[in-house]
Structures are given as structure tokens and as C-alpha cells.
């Protein structure tokens, strides 16, 4: 099973709306247990 590390970066658009960029890194192929 893949184990993902997730990071979120926030940006504010010109009109004030929020935008989130999600980035992922594969940490390991983890055993389910």
C-alpha cells in the first residue's frame, strides 16, 4: 500500500478567492498492518 505525504499551499487570488495546491510525496510502500 502506498503511503502518501500530503502538503497544502495556500494562494489568494486577485479577487480574494482562496486556492489550495496539494502536493504529494510517496513516503513508502507501507504494509497495511
Amino acid at each position: 500500500m502506498r503511503k502518501w505525504k500530503m502538503e497544502k499551499k495556500l494562494e489568494v487570488k486577485d479577487d480574494g478567492r482562496l486556492m489550495y495546491y496539494y502536493e504529494f510525496e510517496l513516503e513508502e510502500e507501507a504494509n497495511e498492518q
Binding site: K3, W4, Y22
Partner: protein, 326 residues
Amino acid sequence: MSSSELRWHPFLKEWVIVAGKVQERPVLPARKACPLCYGGVEVPNPFDIAVFENRYPSLTKETPDIVPWEDEIYKLEGGKGICEVVLYTMDHDSSMSRMPLEQIEKLVLVWEDRYKDLGSHDFIKYVFIFENRGEIIGVSLHHPHGQIYAFPFIPPIIEKEINASSEFYEEKQKCLFCSILDTELSEQKRIIYENKYFVAFIPFYGRYPFELHIYSKRHLGSLPEMTYAEKMYLAEIIQKITKAYDNVYGFNFSYMMVFHQKPVKGEYPHYHFHIEFYSLHRDKDKIKYLASVESGTGTFINPLPPEESAELLRESLRGLENEGKY
């Protein structure tokens, strides 16, 4: 009118959202003008998965410029909420059924984060994750994406499910959803697929052709209650089902995919996480429209018996298996 309003329906006893801003949404722009592609109007940077607040929201985050009022019959409030767009991938031509499993696994983690994040606002009572796919469903942009509506109230179908499951528990001391799952698993005739933690089946009472539900085997109310392994298996079953849909008639199957989770505030011990898919396809070249009877009476007519839908979907999965497509 730019603000969103909630107007109370005195007969149905539910809110109607009136949102003029939605009228401005672009409809099926040319591919080169796709606002959801990298470099398009909404997405200045490359991304893996991105989420942004909808430019044309049905509910607005800023307090609407509306003075709430009510009289003997009518009631009006500002439609305060949050509407987000979730970009699944940079690949304009992809879809849930064609994305690698890795991408859907990431998406499940993003959905969980949005559920928690949006649910943390004091004015939000319900977080609704969904995807519309296909022009017959009303999709206005083809780029693979879903949406999230964070509501200031609990929507009526969820409320009905909460009430029905609470009443069932009072009477039988067991979960209605778990009982349905036990029945379907013992009968098997409407089961499409199951993995270690989830089951996909056509409900006995399905209202739409090919209506399909995915239930968690464990009694839990929302994505944050899942173990990491359960979230990964949820991705797996979503991929399997959307592939099966596309293989039924050999074209991109239009559907609505809706997450039913417990409300974000309060205790709902009898509610049970599930995903529902609805389709309007009733045959390869026939559409089931929701017309006068459904709209005027609330009674659905499903022209495709659930057991037949189930067989068609199982056959579709077997076909994929035989071709080694998953």
C-alpha cells in the same frame, strides 16, 4: 442580483437557494479556453491536485448583503456558505475512470482535508462532495473536476436519512445502513464488487437507472473516521466502479457521484458513510429524463430494474477483468 439568498419553501419545508451569480458560468468553452487547464484563467501554476473557491458560487463566503426577514408564510436569509472546485488532474482528457489509482488515492486525501477544513467554519453545517460527469448531467466544463458545497444547513435528503436511520435504531437497536449491507451481501444479486473495506451494490430501491451505492463495511460517519488503509481501498473501489460504468456501453458514462457523510457539527451515531452514483442512461442510446412525474410528485420511475443494472455492471467488470484492464 449578485448575492445568494435562501428562501424557505413553506410546503416542502426546505430551503431554496436563489443565486443569480451562477447564471454567469461559462458553458462548454472551446478546449483552448478551458479555465481549469494549467495556464487557464483559474490556474496560473502547474498542479497535482488543486482546489479553489468557485468564481460563480451558489453560496457566498462573504456575509450576503441581505437583511433576513420572515413573516407568517415566507422566510428569507442570506445564502452564506462556500463552494469549491476540485481539479483532479492537469490532464484535460482524463477522468476518474482513466486516472491512475495513485491519483484517486491522493484525491481521497484531499476530499478528507476539505471536509475537515470547510467543516471547521462556524457557519457551516454540512459539507457535500460531488462530481457531475457528462453533458447530459449538465456539466459545463469537461476538464476532470468535482465540486464541494459547504452548506449553512443540513440538506433535506441528508436530514431524511438521519431521521430514518435514527428511527430504525430506536426501534431495532441496529444501524439501518449496516442492515441493508447485511441483506445485500446475503442476497448477492445486486452486489457489483467488494474489497476489504467497501461494498458497491445497486440498492433494492434505486431511483435512477444504474444507481449504485458504495458503503463502508465498518460503521463510520465520515472520511476523517477512516483508517489510512480504508481511504486507499475507497480509492480502489471508486476506480473500479467508474471503469465498470464506462465499459457498460463503451462510452464515457455520465453520472452524478455524491458523498453522503454525517454533518460536520453535532453527534450522529446512527449515520453511515456512503457514496451514491446516479445515472440518466437507461440504454445505450436512451436517456431517462427526470420529467413531470419525478419533478411534480417526487415519485421516481426507474425504467431499469436494479437487478438488471447489477447484472450489466457485473458483466462489464468481468469484461474488464478478462481483458486485463484492471
